[in-house]
Amino acid sequence: MTMQQFIEGPLWTFAATVFLVGVAWRIVAIMMIGKPKDLTVAKSSSMAGAAKSIALHSVPHGGNLSRTIYHVISGYAFHLGLFALLFLAAPHVTFISERIVTVPWPAMPRWAFIIAAEAAFAGLILLYLRRLTDPIMRQLSDWDDHVGTWLTFLAMLTGCLALQESHIGLRLFHMVTVQVWMIYFPFSRLMHAFTFAMARKHTGATYGRRGFTP
C-alpha cells in the first residue's frame, strides 16, 4: 500500500469513524448524565426559549457590543470564513460530493475563496494573539486551547498551500493534518461546535420558562 492509498483509505476511514463516534458518544454521554425535573410553574414556554437561544444568541444584544467588539468581529470573521471554506471551497465541494453525499452544490468563486480565507486566518490569528496577551484569556487558557488552535491553523494552512490542486503530496499533507484534527476533535474543546447548542438550549429553556431569555 502506498502512502497515498493509506492516507486516502484506512486513515481517512479511521479518522472519520473516531470523529463521528466520538462526537456522538460525547453528546449522548452528556445527555445521559440527566438532570432533575424542574418542578416550578413555568410562566412562558421553555421550548420557545431554547429555540430562541440556540438561533439568536449569536446576535450581539444587551448593549454590550462595544465591550466585546474585538471578540465579536474576530470571532465572526474566523467562523464565517471557516464555514465558507469548509462547505463552499471548490475542492471541498468536489470531495464531499464524491465521498459523502452525491448531490453537488455550487462552489464559491476564487475571489470569494480568497476573502473567506483572509477572514478565517485573520480572525483565528487575532483571537490567538488575544489569548496569548490578554490577562483574562491567559488566566483561562489551558493546553487544550493551544493545541486546538494550532491544529485548526495547520489544517487551514495546509489546505491553502494545496489550493493549486496540482500536487498529490500537498493534498495528502492537508488530508493528514485534517485527519489529526478530526481525531483530536471529540476529546477537546473543539467540541464547542456541538456543545454550544446544548449549553444554549439549557439556558434558553431555563430562562425561557421565566419569561426572558438572556
Binding site: W25, M31, I136, Q139, F187, H192, H202
Partner: protein, 429 residues
Amino acid sequence: MTDVPASDAPAIDVQAAVDKFNALTGSHIASYLDACVHCGQCAQVCHFHEVTKDPRRTPAVKLKPITKVYNRHKAPFSGLRKAFGLAPELTADDLREWEELIFDSCTMCGRCTVVCPMAIDIASVVAISRQAFAAAGLGPADLMQAAETSRDKGSPLGVTTDVLEDRIEWLEDEHEVEIALDKPEADILLLVSSIELMKYPDSIVAMAKLLNHAGANWTLSTKGYESTNFGFLSGKGDIAKIMITRITEAAEAVGAKTVVVPECGHAFGVLRWAGANILGRPLPYEVTHITEYLAGLKRAGKLAFKPMADAITYHDPCQISRRGGATEDARYLLDGFATGFTEMTPTGNYNWCCGGGGGVQAIGRAANVRHEVFRIKMKQVEETGAEAMVSACSNCRLTMDESKAALGWDKQLMSLVEILADHLLVAEK
C-alpha cells in the same frame, strides 16, 4: 482526602466538596462546562471585573473548581483523561483559593450569560459551587452565620416571632394602618424581608396600605414570614429547605393560594424559580413578586395613583428582572404615574447589578468592592439626570444606601412600593 489543617485554618473536607459537585452536576451543568471556550468576554460585563480590572475576577474563572471535578469524575472520556494524567483531583488549595471568587465576587446577577457566546449560566454554576464549598467547610463566616441565624431564629437578622410581633404592632400604631398578622384564613400570604423589618419598615407599611386599599384578603404569618433564603445564598441546602418549608407550612395553614414576596430580589428568585425543586414537590401556591401582584391589581382597576413628577429612574433587581421575568411589571406600575421617570442605560433585562445580591451584601470583607461597584450605578443615574433611584429590592437598596453613605453621594434611593403607597389615589365614597 481531608488535608492536614494548618494550625489556624479549619479543616477542609475536599471529599465532601467533590461529592457535592458530582451530585449536582446535571447534563445542563455538563453542557456548560464542556462548551466554555475560555474567551473571557464574560469579564467585560461583570461589575466586579469592571471596577477591579482584576483578571481573576472573570466569571468563567469561577467554573474552574467544578470543571476540575467534572473532568476527573463525570465528563465523557474522563477515564481516558485520567489514564493520560490529564485530570487531576480537586485540592484543598484550589478550594481555599477559589472561596473568595465563589462567594465574595459573584452576585449571581447573570449579566455574563448575556455576552457568553455559549449562553453559559455561570450564576447557576456558582450557586452549585457554593453548596460544594459549604460542604467542605468553607465560606465567609458572616454569610454562614446569617444562614444559621435564619435556621435558629427564623430570620438572618435575628427577627424572631416575638420581634416580628413587636415590630408589626409598633408599625400599626405609628402609621395607623392595619397589618394583618396570623389571620386564621387568607387568600394571600405576604412575606417580609428582615432587612425591611429592621431597616426599611415603611416598605411593609406601604404594602399593607396598598393591599388593604385593593381589598385583598391577606395576612402575615409567624409560622413563616422570612422571605430571604440565606440557606440558598450560603450554599447550605438543608437550611434553604427549612426556610421554604416554613413558608409552605404557613401558606397551607392559612389556606393561601398566593404567596407574595416583598421587595427582595433573591427571595423572589429562590422561592419562585427554585422553591419547588428545593422542597422536592410542587409548591401548593402561586409565588408572585409584590411588583407583579400590584401590577395585576392596577390592571384590574383596583389601584390608581396620583401622578408623581419627581425626576426618578428605576434600578432593576437582577433576580426580579433579568432572572425573574418580571421586568415589565415595574414599568407598568410606573407608567402614567411617574411622569418624571427616565430609564438608565443599560436597563431592564440588561441592567448593572447593585453589587450586593447573592448574599454579597452580608459579606463584610466585600464592602469596599461593593462601594466601587456602586460607582457604576452612580454614573448611570447621573447620566439620566434623575434625582432619585427607585428599586423594588430592599437588599439592593441596603447595598446602595451603604455605598451611597461611604462615597457621599447626594441622590436619593427610594422603594417602589413606598412611592406607590404615598401616591395612592383614594376615591371619595
